[in-house]
Amino acid sequence: MIAALTSLTILGVVLGLILGVAARVFRVEGNKLAEEVLGILPGSQCGQCGFPGCAGAAQALAEGRAPVTLCPPGGRAVVLALAAKLGKDADMADVKESVPMIAEVKEEICIGCTRCFKVCPTDAIMGAAQQIHSVFREACTACGKCEEVCPTESIKLQPIPVTLQSWYWHKPLATGSAA
């Protein structure tokens, strides 16, 4: 028991030491700016900007290969922080105020073509050919795929309507943001 405990502990400590020394010896001098930019980005690795994870996006931003408005989940606060960090003008026209959205069918103009529920990745749309479609609110992730294929523009992403159940206190404004 004692032998097992001590030997494993010593093994762990020795390997840890070796790795610690190796980390110093093989240290990679990263781009300082890219690291700071990475600190600003949300870090959720969603890939919506088209780069592989936030680290890739930070690298591209630091090299000036990407606009500061590239991060959809980050919203205004991230755009402003990035613009301040990189000394660029932020083009706020590209930035949508991000509120929770949900797909909604305008029943007057839905022709029941079934295209939207074929593309829906979460099976959130029900309906059949020549029948008016409808959206399961719990399953909709607001990905926007249905909006693209709808021939009559009857299905649209809408902000989730505020009801007594869904109302919430607004978050406090971030300090230093111009908004």
């Binding site: 030997s7 093994l11 070796i18 790795l19 190796a22 980390a23 093989f26």
Partner: protein, 193 residues
């Protein structure tokens, strides 16, 4: 000397770690889309496996056996493997950043490559000596690299071929892997038993 050469041949071809023992299939399917990344992955794995078989033998004979704590074998080996992989990752990141980008998640995943743990355990089972263990480790990982590169070459060809929609993508890759395994079974006649 010829004994070691025979050992190398038999571990690399006859008892191929991927296609005959079916260990380490995750990188075999995962990182075999391009020839050069397959080769790099194979080399990284070769490095890791050779080091861990040596390290595991030393741990087994200098630590576990004298203290009579062989029941901690898997735990100890995993510790050593994780350390070697971490070390390899640091070296590759420093020496070849482009390769580091390409290998991505598969590099740390060498830790969970069952061939890396399986080979030292098989060595213990066979009660091999140090040199033989090292040779088995090296030979097997060379076999792993060989198969990975072969398979990547096949997949590059398949990517250009017309494959019916039912089989396109992963299914045809699995079928190819099966055929390759069948072909490797043919090596069984190479070394007289």
């Amino acid at each position: 000397m010829s004994e070691y050469l025979l050992l190398l041949l038999s571990t690399a071809l006859v008892n191929n770690v991927v296609l005959v023992k079916f260990l380490g299939l995750c990188p075999f399917m995962g990182i075999s889309k391009k020839m050069d990344t397959a080769l790099s992955m194979g080399l990284a794995t070769t490095f890791v496996i050779t080091f861990t078989t040596a390290g595991a033998w030393l741990l087994e004979h200098w630590l576990l056996m004298p203290l009579g704590i062989q029941y901690l074998r898997i735990l100890t080996y995993i510790l050593a493997i994780a350390a070697v992989v971490q070390f390899t990752e640091m070296v590759i990141r420093k020496v070849a950043p482009a390769l580091y980008q390409v290998l991505g998640i598969y590099l740390p995943l060498i830790t969970t490559n069952c061939a890396v743990l399986g080979l030292p355990l098989l060595n213990v089972q066979e009660k091999s000596g140090f040199a033989v263990s090292l040779m088995v480790g090296f030979g097997s990982s060379v076999g792993f690299t060989l198969v990975l590169v072969l398979f990547a070459g096949l997949r590059e060809r398949i990517a250009l071929a017309t494959v019916s929609a039912t089989f396109a993508g992963a299914p045809i890759a699995f079928i190819t892997a099966g055929l390759l395994a069948l072909a490797f079974m043919g090596f069984a006649g190479l070394v007289p038993h």
